[in-house]
């Protein structure tokens, strides 16, 4: 079953022609943005002279930091009145990375997602309960629009509120859910705690995303919930979810190559790797009006699956993401960099030089513990003051990383000394 059989099964030569046309257009549009205007002139890139797809390699990589430097709109290629939406992810230095969309961009994104959902067998008869966060995060709204596009009845639940999630599955007969793997495991426990056998609820499919997880976790969710779980991939810089999606074969995610030009590179040298080898995924968005981005370093490690897929789609598949080339943590679906936490902590005078970030999974939910040493000179001998300090730290961190860590105050000198490359992040979650 296809959403757009012509585009999904297009032959590779036709696909490359389409990619080339779109790339050329995207480069021309980007030349008007302050960021790429400078990049193109410094690297001798002339959009009008591009004659093959290979010329994309003349454009240097774009990094997350480039997006921050261009904050708020240094990469926008359309007039302000054409923009209808923005999304943002939290930033290391307080500046978020922001992505803009025109009406056409929002619509195209919905088509991408609809493609993925249809590829797994979802139809307009399905009731889709979206348990991914709504708001600046792209996860919730991304699948929301895609599911509406393909005609599902959408229940925009967002994350949490477990009792109501269960009640709505029962009352409205939800058949498809979108959920983080950790929340899926938690939900299944809660359903059982209410004396309900999860498979009896009639949920047939789950789209899992926003966090890394293993094949074993998928098996567990499928077995306990009695459904089929599908892997999806995306990031806000490339629109959000729907960049790549598993089909009913459940064997790698089709990356929609009429929207993106994908490269796999050696993260150390930046050199292209042969098809099938594992490396860092680099993506160029060739079908977005508001914000074209070229050769974006996703920092995600994966490989192309060179063999064609039995489903008939010609868009290449990428494997489940193996890991990251940077120190980004994904906690309850939220991207967090240790440097964000460090910046907040070091601005609090009562905090000593040493801290640790410990990630645990309790009842299938992610928990972040931050252990900080109290700076002895700032100790006033007052218990309430320490409680206020913990609250202040928690609020400052929440404002930047959007999740609520548990703060543990430690005696000075109780953590290992921080010379050199101290290990600060301890991820004790088992995937």
């Amino acid at each position: 079953m296809y959403w757009n059989s012509e585009l999904e099964t297009i032959d590779r030569r036709g696909l490359e022609r389409l990619q080339f046309d779109r790339l050329k257009k995207a480069l021309a549009a980007a030349a008007s943005t302050p960021f790429y205007k400078k990049v193109f002139s410094e690297n001798g890139v002339a959009p009008s002279k591009i004659s093959t797809l290979e010329h994309l390699k003349d454009v240097p990589f774009t990094t997350k930091n480039d997006l921050r430097v261009s904050y708020p709109d240094g990469m926008v290629a359309v007039p302000r009145r054409s923009i209808v939406r923005m999304h943002a992810s939290s930033g290391t230095t307080g500046k978020p990375t922001v992505i803009f969309y025109t009406m056409k961009d929002v619509d195209e994104w919905a088509h991408q997602v609809a493609r993925g959902m249809v590829a797994t067998g979802t139809t307009s008869d399905d009731v889709f309960q979206n348990m991914m966060g709504y708001g600046l995060f792209t996860g919730g709204l991304g699948l929301h629009y895609g599911a509406e596009k393909m005609g599902c009845m959408v229940i925009p639940m967002s994350t949490g509120n477990t009792l109501k999630q269960i009640q709505f599955i029962q009352d409205f007969g939800s058949t498809v859910i979108h959920i983080t793997p950790s929340y899926a495991l938690h939900l299944v426990d809660e359903i059982r705690a209410h004396g309900v056998n999860p498979p009896d609820l009639g949920v047939r499919k789950a789209y899992l995303g926003a966090e890394p997880y293993s094949e074993g976790t998928r098996d567990k969710i499928e077995a306990q919930f009695g459904l089929d779980a599908y892997n999806s991939y995306g990031m806000s810089e490339m629109n959000g979810p729907g960049v790549a999606f598993e089909c009913s074969e459940k064997s790698g995610m089709h990356l929609w190559e009429d929207y993106y030009i994908a490269e796999i590179i050696d993260p150390e040298t930046g050199e292209a790797l042969p098809d099938g080898e594992e490396g860092e995924l680099v993506l160029t968005h060739i079908n977005r009006e508001a914000m074209p981005i070229f050769r974006y370093r996703t920092r995600d490690l994966t490989r192309f699956i060179p063999e064609p897929c039995p489903c008939g789609r010609t868009h290449r598949r990428i494997e489940r993401i193996k890991g990251r080339t940077d120190d980004m943590m994904i906690v309850s679906g939220v991207n967090v960099f240790p440097s964000q936490i460090e910046t907040v902590l070091m601005n609090i005078p009562e905090v000593g030089n040493n801290y640790q970030i410990v990630l645990e999974r309790e009842d299938n939910l992610d928990r972040m513990h931050i252990k900080v040493e109290l700076y002895s000179k700032m100790f006033q001998g007052d218990m309430r003051e320490l409680e206020r300090l913990k609250k202040r730290m928690g609020e400052a961190l929440r404002a930047i990383i959007t999740i609520n860590p548990k703060i543990e105050l430690l005696e000075p000198g109780s953590l290992p000394p921080s010379q050199g490359k101290a290990k600060r992040v301890f991820d004790n979650r088992s995937l």
Binding site: S376, F379, G381, D382, M383, L386, E408, L410, E411, P412
Partner: protein, 142 residues
């Protein structure tokens, strides 16, 4: 004005041993000890004969310690002994933040030690009411 030594300590075995071990090395005498606990950590409060020296020693060992101003009064060791003092504090609107007491001589003398926001005002209202306020020297030499 008397002082107590307040020490930050994680809620784990060996903490009191470590603190008292530091004090033992310099023969510092503990008059009273109390611990307030918040789960993960607590504050150990010590009334000692040489508070400045004790706080300095603990800090040298890398322990988070500080001196806090306290009010110490002599009360009678009999039913109602503390009630009289507490009534004065209530009438003056003084809020006791943290307190402990110990007996000096059974059936005769006890000491009530507490933290308040305004130490000078508290000392004044109590001494006006006839309570004997213990000074640094008096308290440590009990």
């Amino acid at each position: 004005m008397p002082h107590q030594v307040s020490v930050f300590a994680e809620n784990r075995p060996g903490k009191i041993e470590r603190i008292t071990g530091v004090l033992l090395k310099k023969n510092i005498d503990i008059r009273a000890i109390t611990i307030s606990d918040s789960g993960d950590y607590g504050i150990v409060k010590l009334l000692v004969d040489r508070p400045q020296e004790a706080a300095g020693l603990l800090k040298e060992e890398g322990i988070a310690a500080t001196l806090r101003d306290i009010v110490a009064i002599r009360v009678k060791d009999k039913p109602g002994g503390l009630y009289e003092a507490a009534s004065i504090l209530t009438r003056s609107g003084v809020n006791v933040e943290d307190a402990y007491g110990f007996i000096v001589e059974r059936k005769k003398d006890a000491v009530f030690v507490f933290q308040v926001e305004d130490v000078r005002k508290t000392e004044r209202v109590l001494s006006d009411a006839g309570f004997s306020i213990l000074t640094d020297g008096e308290l440590y030499l009990i």
